[in-house]
C-alpha cells in the first residue's frame, strides 16, 4: 500500500510553513514517495519551485492549494486536469483582486462556481468538544459541501497526538459513514523534518507578534507536523486503511502537471496576415533599409539573415515583436528608450529600433549572448525615462488587458538583518541586544553563525540563547516573506493570464502582478519583458528637447555623431561630472589611465569598475596590457577566443562563465546554476561545492591554481553585482550620448540634469559650478524670471544662460508656483501683488529665503521683513491700502551671510563659494587651494581644506575611504587608509569643512592626497555671519562687568535647537556617503 501526502503547508504560506517547497519535495523523494501535493493557503506561489524540484528528483508534484474561506471550513483543492487548474487559478484571482495586497478573500459560493473538475478535502476541526463530539456546525457544512461537490469530496483525518486521537478518528469515521464522504489520511505537514519545529514556533511568534515566552497555546503542542515516512503513516492509520487508499485514489485522478501550461504569445502583433516570423522579417528588413539607406553593408545583411534564421529555429519571433510593439509605442509618445540584455544587442534589434547601439561599430556575435544549447529564453530589458515609464506600463495593460498582462512577482526573502531582528524579537531579546547582533553583521559568513563576530559587540558567543538565535536565524534566512512586484518584468499572454497563474493586486495603485517570480516563469518557459526606468534617459530626453528649442537640433540616440574625438578627449580628462555611469570618483580616476578612444573602450570602462573585475584582481593586469607594459598572452589556446577582446583578461560576466565551461568543464546549465547560486545566499552549500569543482576542474586542465582562484573570486563578485557585456554595451551608448551633450552643449546638459534631479553622484551645487567652469552663465532664482523647471535664456557668450528654477528652492511646491506663474501677467512690482496671486505667507517666506525678490528691488532680508507683515493684509473695503508703519532699520547682510542663506534655501550659491570667505584664515594656516595641486611637486606634504562632497568606502577597497572635498578653486581627492579612518572617524564623518594634511600623489592626470591627519574646521563657517557686537547701540550697559566673546557660544544652544546662526555649518550639505 502506498501513501501520498496531500496536505503540505510550505513557507509560501507566509509565517506558517517552516520548510521550502524544494525541501518538502526532496524529503518526499528521499522517503520514496511517488507523488506529493503542495497546498499553500490561498496561493499557488510555491508550486513551481516544488514542481522543478520534483522533476529533478523524478517524482510527481500535485499542484494544489488550501482554500481558507471567510464563511466556511477550509478546503484543500486538487485540480484533476488543466481546465480545473484554470478554474482554481481564476478563483484565487477573484479572491486576490477583491482585496488588498497580500490577502485573499474567498467565500463558499466562489468555490462552488469554480469547483468543476477538482477534488476537495475538508479540513477537520482541530478538536472535539467536551462531549467528545464535533460541533454541529461542522456536520452542517459537510452536508452542504457534499450536496455541491458530491463524489469529489473527502474528509481529512490526521493523527494529532493529542491524547484522544482514537476517539477523534472514530467520530470522523462515523461522520464519514453517515454522510457518505470518504475519509482520507493526511498529516497536515508544516515542515519537512521534525527539527524545524523550533523555527515553526518562531514563525508563529512573528505572525502573532508575540515572543516565544508569551506565545502560550498559539504554538503547536508537539513536533508531529513533519513529513512522515509511508510506513509510519500506514501504522498510524492501521485501523483505517481505506483512508490511506484514498490518497492514492486522489493522487491518481490528479494527473495535471504544470508542464501542461502552454505559454502562448499574444497574436495581435502581426499585420496583413503575416505569420510572426514573416512579420519580424518584414520589419527587420524595413528597419535595415531605413537605417542604412540603400547601401546595406554586406556584413549587416549576413548578420540579419543569420539572426532571423536563429530566431525562427528557436521560435522567438513573437517575443521580438512584443518588445518592438512596446518600443514603437514609446517612440510615438516621444519617450526615450534603450534596450539591453542578451538579445538586445543584435542587428535585428538595431533594425527594429530596440537598441541604438550600431552593430557595425561593435563586433557582436548573436550567439555570444544566446546559446541554443542552454535553451534559455532571450532576455531583453528596455530602459525608459524614469518619469514616464508609467505611461508605458499603462499602455501594456491597456493594449493587452489586465487579464492578459501582469507584472512578475518578486519574492521578498528574509535577509540576515531582518531575520536576526525577527528571531531576536520572537526569542524575547532586548532591542539593545538585537541592535548589537544585527550591527555585528557585515557579511554573511559562516564565522558569523559560529558567533565569532558577535564577541566584538560585547556579547557572549557561548551564551546558549544567543547561539540558538543564530542557529534559527540561519534557518530563517532565505525564507520568502512576502510577494512584491518586480521592478518591471511583464508577462503577456494570448489567452487569459489567470488561466496560467493567479493574479493579485500590487501595493501600487493600478498595478496587478502574478504570484510567480522570474525563476518560476523561466522554469515554465514563459517569456517576460523588463520595462525598466532609467533616470539618465529622462535627462537625455530633456536635453534633446532643449537642444531642439535653443539650437534647433533634432537629436536622437541614434543620430548623435559617433566617434567624436573631442568627446573622447573630454572623457580622457575625466571631465565627466554628471555623465552617465562614469562620473563616480572611482570611474574618474580610471578614465585618464584607461584613456577610452573608441566605443568599445567605453564598454570596458563601464564594466571594469565593478565588484567582479576588482575582486578577481583583473583591473591592473588589463591596464598594464593596454598600456603595453605587459605582453598580451592567454592562459591557454582554448581561452584565446573568449578573451581576445579584452587582451586576455576576463572582465565580463559572460567571459568568466565561459571560462568555467571551457576551462573547468562545466556544462552550460551548470555554469548558469553557478551564477544563480552566487546571487542568492540560499544555496550556501552550493557555493563551496562549485568552488571546489571550478578550481579543481581548471587545475586538472592545466591552469594555475592562483588563476583559477581569481576567476572564482571574480564570479563571486559578479554574484553580488552581475554586469554582463550585453548590458555594458547598452550603457556605453548612454555614456557616449551624455558625454557628447556635455561636451558640445554644457548649458543644455546642466539644465537637463538639474531638471532630472535627484540622480547621480553630485549635488546641484557641483553641477552649477561645473557648468560655470564651462563658461555657462548661471542666473539666480527670481520671482519675475524663473519657472518651475530650470531653463535656458538667451545666449550669453558661447552658450545660453541657465536660469535656475523654483524646483531648486527647498520646500516650494509646484502647484504654488503655478499660481505664481499664472499671476505673472506682467512683471511683479511688489510683494502684495504676489499675495494677491494667491500665494501664502509661508510660500513667500520661502521665496524670500531664496533671495528671489531681487528684480523688485528687495534683498532677502528686506523681502522677509515685508513678507512677515503680510498676515494682517487689509481686506474688503481697505484692500490695496498701504499700512502706515514706522520704518525699522534692519542690519545689512554681508555677502558671506547671503551665501550662507543661499545654501540654506537652495543648497548652492551663485554669489561666491563659501570657502572663499575663510581663505585668508586658511592661508594663515598655510592651506593651499586645490587648484595649486597641478604645480606642486609630487610627494610634497600639502594642506588643503574644503566642503565635503562625497565620502565613499567601497566594500572592495579594504576599508579605504575616498573623500572628495571642494574649495572655491576646485576639488581635491583624498585617500584615507583604514587605520587613519578609525583614528579620525569623527572628523571625517562630522566635518562640513574638512582640512587634511597629506602627501600629494600624482598618477598621470589623477592627483590624490594620501591623508595623514584630518581636522574639522566647520567652526570657521560659523564666522561667515558677521558678529554685531562691535557696534552695539547706546542702550548697552557698561561692559566692564561682562565678558562678551565675539562669537557667543551659549550653553543653551546645544539643547534648544534654534537659529540658523549657530547651527549654520549644518546648512552646508553633509556630503553623501556611498558604500
Amino acid at each position: 500500500m502506498s501513501y501520498t501526502e496531500l496536505q503540505v503547508t510550505t513557507n509560501f504560506s507566509f509565517l506558517n510553513g517552516a520548510s521550502h517547497p524544494e525541501e518538502m519535495v526532496e524529503q518526499a523523494a528521499f522517503y520514496g514517495y511517488a507523488s506529493i501535493a503542495i497546498t499553500d493557503k490561498n496561493s499557488f506561489a510555491g508550486i513551481v519551485r516544488g514542481h522543478v524540484a520534483a522533476k529533478a528528483k523524478g517524482i510527481r508534484l500535485i499542484p494544489a492549494c488550501c482554500l481558507d474561506l471567510l464563511d466556511g471550513i477550509s478546503l484543500l483543492a486538487y485540480p484533476t486536469n488543466r481546465d480545473a487548474y484554470t478554474k482554481l487559478s481564476a478563483l484565487l484571482t477573484v479572491g486576490n483582486l477583491r482585496t488588498e495586497k497580500g490577502k485573499c478573500d474567498l467565500y463558499k459560493t466562489d468555490v462552488y462556481r469554480h469547483a468543476e473538475g477538482s477534488k476537495f478535502i475538508v479540513v477537520s476541526p482541530s478538536a472535539l468538544n467536551s462531549e467528545f463530539e464535533f460541533e454541529p456546525y461542522f456536520e452542517k457544512t459537510l452536508k452542504e459541501y457534499k450536496s455541491v461537490f458530491e463524489s469529489n469530496l473527502y474528509i481529512a483525518a490526521s493523527r494529532r497526538y493529542q491524547g484522544d486521537d482514537s476517539k477523534y478518528l472514530h467520530r470522523l469515521s462515523q461522520l464519514s459513514k453517515q454522510l457518505q464522504i470518504p475519509l482520507v489520511a493526511t498529516n497536515d505537514v508544516h515542515y519537512h523534518e521534525s527539527g524545524r519545529r523550533q523555527l515553526q514556533d518562531i514563525l508563529t511568534c512573528i505572525r502573532e507578534k508575540c515572543t516565544i515566552h508569551n506565545a502560550g497555546f498559539r504554538l503547536h503542542p508537539n513536533a508531529e507536523r513533519y513529513l512522515k515516512t509511508k510506513e509510519e503513516m500506514l501504522r498510524l492509520f492501521r485501523q483505517y486503511p481505506d483512508a490511506i487508499l484514498r490518497t492514492q485514489e486522489i493522487s491518481e485522478s490528479c494527473q495535471f502537471s504544470l508542464l501542461e501550461l502552454k505559454y502562448e504569445y499574444p497574436e495581435e502583433l502581426t499585420t496583413e496576415d503575416r505569420t510572426p516570423q514573416q512579420e519580424l522579417e518584414f520589419l527587420a528588413w524595413q528597419g535595415a533599409k531605413e537605417k542604412y539607406a540603400d547601401c546595406l553593408p554586406e556584413k549587416i545583411v549576413t548578420a540579419i539573415r543569420h539572426e532571423l534564421r536563429f530566431v525562427e529555429e528557436m521560435n522567438y519571433a513573437n517575443y521580438f515583436l512584443t518588445v518592438h510593439d512596446i518600443v514603437r509605442f514609446a517612440r510615438k509618445q516621444n519617450i526615450l528608450c534603450q534596450g539591453r540584455g542578451s538579445a538586445a544587442n543584435s542587428t535585428v534589434c538595431y533594425c527594429l529600433g530596440i537598441t541604438s547601439v550600431d552593430p557595425t561599430k561593435f563586433d557582436l556575435l548573436f550567439e555570444r549572448f544566446i546559446s541554443s544549447a542552454r535553451n534559455e529564453p532571450p532576455d531583453i530589458d528596455v530602459d525608459f525615462e524614469h518619469e514616464r515609464r508609467e505611461e508605458v506600463i499603462q499602455y501594456i495593460y491597456e493594449k493587452y488587458g489586465r487579464d492578459r498582462a501582469a507584472i512578475v512577482a518578486t519574492v521578498t526573502q528574509e535577509r540576515q538583518k531582518g531575520a536576526i531582528r525577527d528571531v531576536g524579537k520572537a526569542m524575547g531579546l532586548s532591542v539593545d541586544t538585537i541592535n548589537r547582533l544585527s550591527s555585528s553583521v557585515w557579511n554573511y559568513t559562516d564565522e558569523w553563525f559560529e558567533g565569532k563576530q558577535i564577541a566584538e559587540q560585547g556579547l557572549n558567543p557561548n551564551d546558549k540563547l544567543l547561539r540558538k538565535v543564530l542557529q534559527l536565524t540561519e534557518q530563517l534566512m532565505g525564507f520568502p516573506r512576502q510577494l512584491g512586484q518586480h521592478t518591471g518584468g511583464f508577462v503577456i499572454t494570448q489567452g487569459k493570464l489567470s488561466d496560467l497563474c493567479p493574479i493579485m493586486n500590487a501595493r501600487m495603485e493600478n498595478r496587478t502582478c502574478i504570484e510567480w517570480n522570474k525563476d518560476d516563469i523561466d522554469a515554465l518557459g514563459f517569456l517576460k519583458i523588463d520595462v525598466l526606468a532609467l533616470g539618465m534617459l529622462t535627462c537625455i530626453r530633456k536635453a534633446f528637447d532643449l537642444a531642439k528649442k535653443h539650437y534647433d537640433l533634432n537629436l536622437t540616440l541614434a543620430n548623435i555623431p559617433q566617434d567624436d574625438t573631442a568627446v573622447y578627449e573630454m572623457i580622457c580628462h575625466a571631465d565627466t561630472i554628471g555623465v552617465f555611469q562614469i562620473e563616480s570618483r572611482a570611474q574618474q580616476s580610471m578614465l585618464p589611465r584607461l584613456k577610452p578612444r573608441t566605443f568599445y573602450d567605453l564598454v570596458i570602462e563601464v564594466a571594469i569598475v565593478r565588484p567582479g573585475p576588482i575582486q578577481g584582481d583583473m583591473v591592473h593586469p588589463y591596464l598594464k596590457r593596454r598600456n603595453g607594459e605587459e605582453p598580451v598572452e592567454y592562459p591557454s589556446k582554448a581561452l584565446e577566443e573568449i578573451l581576445k577582446r579584452t587582451l586576455g583578461v576576463p572582465l565580463f560576466q559572460e567571459q568568466a562563465m565561459k571560462i568555467a565551461i571551457v576551462a573547468a568543464g562545466f556544462t552550460p546549465a551548470e555554469a548558469d546554476e553557478l551564477r544563480r547560486s552566487m546571487a542568492t545566499f540560499k544555496a550556501k552549500g552550493m557555493v563551496t561545492h562549485f568552488e571546489q569543482k571550478l578550481i579543481g576542474g581548471m587545475m586538472k586542465n592545466g591552469y594555475a591554481k592562483e588563476y583559477a582562484q581569481r576567476v572564482f573570486k571574480q564570479l563571486e563578485g559578479f554574484g553580488s553585482y552581475g554586469f554582463p557585456e550585453s548590458h555594458a554595451a547598452s550603457f556605453a551608448l548612454l555614456v557616449y550620448v551624455s558625454s557628447w551633450i556635455k561636451c558640445y552643449y554644457p548649458d543644455v546638459f546642466a539644465c537637463a540634469l538639474l531638471n532630472s534631479m535627484p540622480m547621480g553622484f553630485y549635488q546641484p551645487a557641483q553641477i552649477v559650478i561645473d557648468a560655470k567652469k564651462h563658461t555657462v552663465e548661471v542666473r539666480p532664482v527670481d520671482v519675475n524670471y524663473s519657472f518651475w523647471d530650470n531653463l535656458l535664456e538667451e545666449k550669453s557668450g558661447k552658450y545660453c544662460a541657465l536660469r535656475l528654477g523654483f524646483r531648486q528652492v527647498k520646500g516650494l511646491r509646484e502647484d504654488d508656483m503655478n499660481d505664481l506663474l499664472s499671476g505673472r501677467k506682467k512683471a511683479y512690482t511688489g510683494i502684495h501683488e504676489l499675495l494677491d496671486a494667491g500665494l501664502s505667507k509661508a510660500v513667500l517666506e520661502k521665496l524670500a529665503d531664496a533671495d528671489a525678490f531681487r528684480s523688485i528691488g528687495l534683498d532677502r532680508r528686506s523681502a522677509l521683513w515685508e513678507v512677515s507683515a503680510t498676515a494682517d493684509k487689509p481686506i474688503g473695503f481697505f484692500a490695496g491700502q498701504k499700512t502706515a508703519e514706522e520704518k525699522a532699520v534692519l542690519p545689512q547682510m554681508t555677502i558671506a551671510e547671503h551665501v550662507v542663506h543661499d545654501y540654506a534655501a537652495t543648497s548652492l550659491s551663485l554669489k561666491a563659494h563659501p570657502v572663499s570667505f575663510v581663505r585668508e584664515k586658511l592661508e594663515l594656516l598655510r592651506i593651499v587651494p586645490a587648484s595649486q595641486f597641478e604645480v606642486i611637486q609630487e610627494g610634497s606634504i600639502v594642506k588643503v581644506a574644503g566642503l565635503v562632497l562625497v565620502r565613499q568606502r567601497p566594500g572592495t577597497a579594504k576599508g579605504v575611504c575616498f573623500i572628495t572635498i571642494e574649495d572655491e578653486t576646485g576639488v581635491a581627492n583624498l585617500v584615507v587608509f583604514e587605520k587613519l579612518f578609525d583614528k579620525y572617524r569623527k572628523e571625517i564623518l562630522q566635518a562640513r569643512l574638512l582640512m587634511v594634511e597629506g602627501k600629494l600623489q600624482r598618477e598621470g592626470e589623477v592627483i590624490h592626497v594620501i591623508v595623514r591627519c584630518c581636522y574639522d574646521l566647520s567652526k570657521l563657517l560659523r564666522h561667515l555671519t558677521a558678529s554685531k557686537n562691535e557696534n552695539l547701540p547706546l542702550l548697552t550697559l557698561s561692559r566692564s562687568d561682562e565678558k562678551v566673546s565675539p562669537v557667543p557660544s551659549y550653553p543653551g544652544h546645544n539643547k534648544i535647537k534654534e537659529a540658523p546662526k549657530v547651527i549654520q555649518e549644518e546648512i552646508f550639505p553633509k556630503g553623501r556617503n556611498f558604500k
Binding site: 502560550g216 550697559l1037 534654534e1058 537659529a1059 540658523p1060
Partner: protein, 520 residues
C-alpha cells in the same frame, strides 16, 4: 509638612494681590537631567559617552546625550546610527518617557528646603519663587551658589540664575555668560545681549528673527510693539513683557504627598497589655478615620512602641486587600501583641501605614452571592490565618499558558493576581499532580501503544482501559530534551493514573516510564 502648609497660605494671599515689593525667582536648569540621573545610579556610566534613544518610525533617535557624548558632537535629534558612526563605542539605553516627570517632581520636592514655592518646568528645569528667602541663607549669591553646589555634589550638571522675573532668570540660566544673580530692576540690561531663543518663544519665531538679522534682544527691543506684534505674534510681546517684569507670571508649586502616621505619647509609661491595646485602638481609630475620609486603605502597617529605656518594640501586619476596618486591623495586631515586651514602660506609640492603596467604597449588594477572593470576609480570614501560620504557607495556583504539565500552573503572588488565561478544560488532567514524576516499571507494546500494566510502589496494576498517547514536546526555549507521551489509564480497581514515557521507545534505554498524577 506642616511648615509647607503654612507657607502656602502666605503664598496664596500674595497671589491674590501682588504686593508692591520685588519678587525674586530662581530658575535651575539641569543640562543633562536624565543622563546625570543614570550616571548617579550606575557609576560605570559616569565615565562613558552615552545617549538615550527612542524609536521614531523605526529609526533610533537620540533624545538625551550625556556631557561626554555631547562634547564629541553628539546632539539630540541625531539618528543613533549616525552617532555610532562617530563614536563606535557609544553606549545607548532606552529612553523611557515616564521617569523624567517623576524625577523632576522628586527634585522639586527636595528643593522645598530652599523655598516653599517650587514649580517644575518641564522637561528639565525648576522654578523657585524665593522672595524673602535669600537672607536666611546668607545673601543672594551665597544662596544661589549653595543650591548649585548641592546639585553638583549629587552629580547633576546644573546652571541657575536669580532675577526679578521668571523670564529673566530663565534666560540667564540658559544663555547667561557670567553674572547669574541679576540685581533687582536690572533684568532689562541683562537680557539685551541674549539671543531671542532665551525668551521661551517658538522656534519658528526665533528663526524668523535670526533671518532678519535680529539676533539679540537688543536688536528689536526698540522696535514699536505694534510692529513686532504684527510680524511675530502676541507670544513674543507677552514673553518679553514677562521677562522684563511688565506683566505678572505665576507658578504652580508642587505639594508634598501626605504620610499616614499617627503618634500617641503617654504621660506615664505604659507597662501592661491593656494599656497597649488601648493605645493601639486609639491610634487605629484616628488613622482609619483619616484613611476612610480619603477613600484609602492600608496594605501593611507597623506599630512601634518606644520604651523608656530607649529600645523600640515593633509589630507589623499585612493585608490582602486595602482595609480601614478598625476591627479587622485590630484583630491582626492582636495576634502579635503578645510579643511586645513593655519592660520598664512605653512612653510613645507610633502607628505607621507603610503601604496605602486606594480603597473606593464598595457598593452594598442586596444578596451576598460572591465567594472566593471577592468576598471580604474570606479575605479577612486569610489575613488572620496568614498572621498565624505565615503567608509563605498559603498557596494559590493559577493557570499558565504552557503545554508542559509542570509549568501549566503557577503559584500566585497575591490574591489580587489575575490569570491572563482560562483554566484549560479540553484535555483530561489529574486532580493531583506529582511535583516530580516518579519512575515506574511498565510493560507496553512498542512503539507508542498504551501500557498493559505497571508497577508502582511495589504494587502491580493491571491496566483495563487507556487513552493516549498525548504527545507533549519540550518547551525548547526553556529546556531541551525528550518529549513525553502521556497516557490516562485505569487499573482493575477502577483507579485512574496519569503515566508517561519519556522520549520515543528505545530498546536499550530503561526507566523511560513515569507516573505523574492521579485522577479522581
Amino acid at each position: 509638612m506642616k511648615i509647607s502648609r503654612r507657607w502656602s497660605c502666605i503664598l496664596k494671599k500674595e497671589n491674590v494681590k501682588p504686593v508692591d515689593m520685588h519678587r525674586r525667582f530662581v530658575t535651575i536648569w539641569f543640562r543633562h537631567l536624565k543622563t546625570d540621573w543614570i550616571s548617579i545610579r550606575r557609576p560605570a556610566f559616569a565615565k562613558l559617552p552615552f545617549v538615550l534613544t527612542l524609536s521614531v518610525h523605526g529609526k533610533m533617535v537620540i533624545t538625551s546625550a550625556n556631557a561626554l557624548a555631547e562634547k564629541q558632537g553628539i546632539n539630540i535629534g541625531m539618528a543613533l546610527a549616525d552617532a555610532r558612526a562617530i563614536i563606535p563605542s557609544l553606549e545607548y539605553l532606552d529612553d523611557k518617557p515616564e521617569p523624567s516627570g517623576k524625577l523632576l517632581q522628586s527634585i522639586a520636592e527636595y528643593c522645598i528646603r530652599f523655598s516653599p514655592a517650587v514649580a517644575v518646568d518641564p522637561p528639565d528645569g525648576l522654578i523657585l519663587e524665593v522672595t524673602g528667602c535669600a537672607h536666611l541663607w546668607g545673601g543672594e549669591t551665597d544662596y544661589l551658589t549653595l543650591m548649585i553646589n548641592r546639585f553638583k555634589g549629587m552629580g547633576y550638571d546644573v546652571r541657575a540664575a536669580m532675577a526679578d522675573t521668571i523670564g529673566a532668570a530663565w534666560a540667564i540660566s540658559r544663555f547667561g555668560q557670567s553674572q547669574f544673580v541679576i540685581e533687582s530692576g536690572q533684568q532689562k540690561f541683562a537680557l539685551l545681549h541674549l539671543p531671542p531663543a532665551s525668551l521661551r518663544i517658538d522656534r519658528e519665531v526665533v528663526e524668523l528673527l535670526h533671518k532678519l538679522g535680529l539676533t539679540q534682544i537688543n536688536d528689536f527691543i526698540g522696535i514699536p510693539l505694534s510692529v513686532l506684534r504684527r510680524r511675530f505674534g502676541e507670544s513674543l510681546i507677552k514673553q518679553l513683557n514677562q521677562a522684563l517684569g511688565n506683566e505678572e507670571e505665576f507658578i504652580l508649586p508642587v505639594q508634598l504627598p501626605a504620610t499616614f502616621e499617627e503618634r500617641l505619647s503617654c504621660l506615664e509609661p505604659i507597662v501592661n497589655i491593656a494599656g497597649i491595646e488601648i493605645a493601639l485602638r486609639r491610634l487605629l481609630e484616628i488613622l482609619c478615620a483619616r484613611l476612610k475620609m480619603e477613600d484609602k486603605g492600608l496594605r501593611s502597617a507597623s506599630f512601634k512602641c518606644y520604651r523608656v529605656d530607649g529600645k523600640i518594640e515593633q509589630i507589623s501586619i499585612g493585608t490582602n486587600r486595602a482595609s480601614h476596618s478598625i476591627v479587622h486591623l485590630f484583630k491582626l495586631f492582636e495576634l502579635k501583641l503578645g510579643t511586645i515586651e513593655p519592660a520598664l514602660g512605653i512612653e510613645l506609640f507610633i502607628l505607621e501605614a507603610a503601604k496605602v492603596e486606594e480603597a473606593p467604597p464598595v457598593q452594598e449588594k442586596l444578596w451576598k452571592g460572591t465567594c472566593g477572593i471577592e468576598n471580604i470576609k474570606f479575605l479577612e480570614l486569610m489575613d488572620r490565618i496568614a498572621g498565624k501560620i505565615g503567608t509563605a504557607n498559603i498557596h494559590r495556583y493559577l493557570p499558565d499558558e504552557h503545554y508542559w504539565p509542570e509549568r501549566s500552573i503557577k503559584s500566585a503572588s497575591s490574591v489580587k493576581e489575575k490569570s491572563n488565561t482560562e483554566w484549560k478544560t479540553d484535555k483530561l488532567r489529574p486532580i493531583q499532580l506529582l511535583s516530580t514524576p516518579q519512575h515506574i516499571e511498565v510493560t507496553a507494546p512498542v512503539p507508542d501503544y498504551p501500557p498493559m500494566n505497571f508497577r508502582y510502589k511495589n504494587k502491580l496494576h493491571k491496566i483495563k482501559k487507556a487513552d493516549g498517547p498525548e504527545r507533549i514536546e519540550q518547551e525548547w526555549w526553556i529546556q531541551e530534551g525528550e518529549h513525553r507521551d502521556y497516557y490516562a489509564v485505569e487499573d482493575e480497581d477502577g483507579n485512574r493514573y496519569w503515566l508517561f514515557r519519556s522520549g520515543h521507545y528505545t530498546g536499550d534505554k530503561r526507566n523511560q516510564w513515569f507516573i505523574h498524577g492521579f485522577f479522581a
